[in-house]
Amino acid sequence: MQQQILILTIVVMTLVAYPFWRVVRTSQHAPQPPSPAGRIERMRTALLASLAVTGLVVAVATLRPWPHDAHAAPGAQIVRAVGYQWYWELDTEEVTAGRPVVFEVASADVNHGFGVYDPSGTILFQTQVMPGYVNKVKHTFTEPGTYRVLCLEYCGTAHHDMIGEFKVVAAR
């Protein structure tokens, strides 16, 4: 997913940069009266409308289903995790692939970030962790392997040492 986001970003940035390049390239031409206001405003209206419509379509497409749904369906595995300066405590070392896992994450001190990385080092999902709250995040693992939990919220001078680990095993 991240690579697709990067490519999309580069494409859109190029689209944004293109009119700048076009206009700057011809900007030194002999001064001419500005284009008719009506034509410019029609172009502007088209731009604003296309931005608004794109935004609404993307919003609807990405908010349904709700990305933070953490409802524990029947058969879900529950993993409780607590963040400390500077380590993680998980109440299990192993979960099963193919069945939803709901992580219930709390903090014993300051804000932390619970970021779960797959065996190749790609982040799969995350949630913020803070004292006084139990934050829930749901994910269904598909591949067995050793997964790491990296802290993704700055929590003090050994923040980078805050790495946990658990295994995902194949369903029997």
Partner: protein, 483 residues
């Protein structure tokens, strides 16, 4: 409809103070860029750096860059607003003095006291350092931010007072009669409309920031005086978002005021322009939940609002400021020079940086990008190629002699190197974010080092170019001031 008759056609800005402020801002930018390259070099294991020192540098870099961006943006706003309203030079000097007191306190807290709680000082981290710093260091840091906040409050109270005196109310300075009825006598110029919007939303931001700073301060000495960490986080990100974005919204006033001198086409306070700045006022104060999209305890509607307003932010930027600038530039016969080129690059860089920011403002994208290096990727783009470029453009114009119109090869080379260095540096952040590398990590895994080293090389290029650009400014400072 009368097209913006200046109420007070005078230069009440203290020109020497403005020129020195820009110099101060540039020197701080340079120093903190050096901190930045040291951090990237340390992540790539080019140099060895104790993690404690890394996080101190990170704290100073973050707080200082926000302060320097706000400082240069403020000087630009003050300078141009002073063309239309009567501002108090005393207020500016008090603002600058208090700001410097704040900077000294922040630097002392970090480099003497060892405070390394990041510029976001997320409650309750200042009080729970894990043994890394004492309460005194955290107190000094918080007091430093309070001093800077009070400085800005004085700044905005004065700009607000002056606009009310000149236009009869902030609503009129925002051109609300034009917004709501389509008609208005004595329409304020773009500089005033933008200043009015920033004055209102940044005052709100500073007051919210002051509230959480005071609570943090009390909590350092009375731990039982606790607040909800989620509420504190809301306050901090509300304040932080508003404050850093205000720096760009202030700097863009230079584009509105200076570019027409090159194109011969006056930037108009159209109804759409006025609507855009009222929309910016609303969006600047409602978009902050996009910083908290992984705080699943937040009410869902706030997170949805954060996503929608993030998307909406593109409308006034791309559809009004960037589009209008290109329309004014189109076949205008402009003669490019250092100032005009940097100002246009400023709007381009702001627009480009907004793209990865808006994409990251999508909750499902944010789930895998939040707090990775993707985030510094987008904000370094719109700050380095946006706010800093606009500030450099203003500085070039401020010290430009009347007979100078040529675009010297050395200036072109410096701009090219600055843009190339910045794009390379920020794209490495984006690529690193897309490969899941977390931000704010002092020690990187070996497989991340290559990206860190390439980023360090680009950082060296952009710093060399920035140094060259501010050298041009210093050399020109010896020439007579622009009236």
């Amino acid at each position: 409809m009368t097209q913006y008759m200046p109420v007070a056609q005078k230069t009440s800005a203290n020109i020497t103070a403005i020129r020195l402020t820009m110099l101060l801002g540039a020197v701080v930018f340079l120093l903190l860029m050096l901190f930045g390259i040291v951090m990237r070099a340390a992540q790539g294991q080019i140099i060895n750096l104790e993690p404690t020192v890394f996080y101190q540098l990170m704290t100073a870099h973050g707080a200082g860059m926000v302060g320097a961006a706000a400082l240069t943006g403020s000087a630009i706003m003050w300078y141009f607003l002073g063309r239309y309203v009567q501002l108090s030079a005393l207020a500016y000097n008090v603002f600058l003095g208090l700001f410097l007191v704040g900077v000294v306190l922040v630097l002392g807290a970090v480099f003497v006291g060892g405070f390394a709680g990041a510029w976001t000082f997320l409650y309750p981290l200042p009080a729970l350092s894990g043994g890394s710093w004492e309460v005194g260091a955290a107190t000094t840091f918080v007091l430093g931010l309070v001093a800077i906040g009070v400085a800005y409050l004085i700044f905005y109270l004065e700009t607000g007072r002056a606009m009310i005196a000149a236009y009869g109310g902030l609503g009129r300075a925002l051109a609300w009669p034009l917004v709501f009825t389509g008609k208005m006598d004595n329409v304020p110029p773009p500089a005033v409309i933008a200043s009015a919007s920033v004055t209102v939303f940044n005052t709100v931001g500073i007051v919210v920031g002051a509230a959480v700073l005071v609570v943090t301060l009390i909590n350092l000495y009375v731990p039982s005086f606790a607040i909800d960490p989620l509420l504190a986080k809301n306050f901090i990100y509300f304040f932080g978002h508003v404050f850093i974005n205000a720096s760009i919204y202030m700097a863009v006033i230079a584009v509105y005021e200076i570019l027409p001198l090159y194109t011969g086409r006056k930037w108009k306070s159209s109804r759409l322009f006025a609507i855009a700045w009222s929309a910016i006022l609303l969006m600047a104060t409602s978009v902050y939940p996009h910083h908290m999209m992984q705080d699943v305890a937040m009410p869902g509607w706030l997170l949805v609002m954060g996503q929608l307003v993030s998307f909406g932010n593109s409308l006034p930027l791309l559809g009004v400021t960037a589009f209008s600038m290109l329309a004014y530039l189109h076949r205008s016969g402009i003669k490019w020079d250092l100032a005009s080129a940097l100002l246009v690059i400023g709007v381009l860089g702001w627009s480009l940086g907004a793209v990865p920011a808006i994409i990251d403002g999508t909750i499902s994208v944010n789930r895998v990008m939040h707090n990775t290096l993707w985030v510094p990727g987008h904000f370094h783009t719109y700050l380095l190629l946006g706010e800093v470029a606009m500030s450099l453009g203003f500085m070039a114009w401020l010290t430009k002699g009347d007979r100078e119109s040529a675009f010297a090869p050395a200036e072109k080379a410096a701009i090219t190197a600055y843009v190339a260095g910045t794009l390379g540096f920020t794209f490495m952040f984006l690529i690193s974010g897309a490969t899941s590398i977390p931000r704010r990590w002092a020690i990187h895994f070996p497989e991340w080092h290559l990206q860190d080293r390439i980023a360090t090389a680009f950082a060296a290029l952009l710093i060399a170019a920035f140094f060259t650009l501010i050298t041009f400014y210093v050399v020109r400072l010896l020439r007579p001031a622009r009236a």
